[in-house]
Symmetry: C2
Subunit: 158 residues, 2 copies
Amino acid sequence: MAIEIERKFLVTGDGWRGQGTTTRFRQGFLSTDKDRVVRVRIAGEKGTLAIKGRNRGAARPEFEYEIPLSDAQSLLDTLCMPPILEKNRTVIPQGEVFWEVDEFFGDNQGLIVAEVELPHEDHPVDLPDWVGQEVTHDRRYANSNLVNYPYSKWNQSE
Amino acid sequence: MAIEIERKFLVTGDGWRGQGTTTRFRQGFLSTDKDRVVRVRIAGEKGTLAIKGRNRGAARPEFEYEIPLSDAQSLLDTLCMPPILEKNRTVIPQGEVFWEVDEFFGDNQGLIVAEVELPHEDHPVDLPDWVGQEVTHDRRYANSNLVNYPYSKWNQSE
């Protein structure tokens, strides 16, 4: 088990484009219960199964296992709750940390968020000029929530 | 992915005791949704994560992965829905098939079921004289159901 410490921000500029390395992600969920999220992901050609517990501050217990690509495809196509999330993840190094910019497609088109994984909760972060409001604690932006309440529907209920 | 074909019976006699090989199981669930059950199990010293889809007749899609024992312990102790199931599984060979006798403890004390895994749905089975009623299609006996509705509570609601 790893303890994952992440902060999440909305992306407000285009300064990140053309930087880093971009990979296509498809992911779905077997459980969106926030005490025990179970995620299936294909990142490029790699399949993984991840289990995440409830957030405690910015920290979160996480277990992740590589699984055969064909299993990940079957799980996404037949067992995960629809719809399957599609996004491009761009990983951009900044000093000793990495920014991950997620640009969503499909029902979440228009949403772009950036996450930075930190060695401990109080680690200082230099914010790039293309990030805006912090949304670390806003459950709406959790990927497991974007399945049931996609970004395209948010304005309708506000 | 494997397709699992199993038939399940109540155990009515003691003729199985002293046969085969017995292993202690601890298992819990990250999802009990019958379309996407996610099970964590420790069998002896081996940890596994399994994902099962909905039954179609006696057949059921199943994905199973070995995980580190320490991960399985953490998942059972911190992330699975309580309570954790405890049972002894005794595997008894019979010709080309294997009977698995599960004797439950804790809140499911008194329940003993036997499962036989078959190469195809219509494969003939010789029933040992210690099995009784078939419960293959009775959801109450699903292990994922025994977490929320343990055997000790059944009489109270009938």
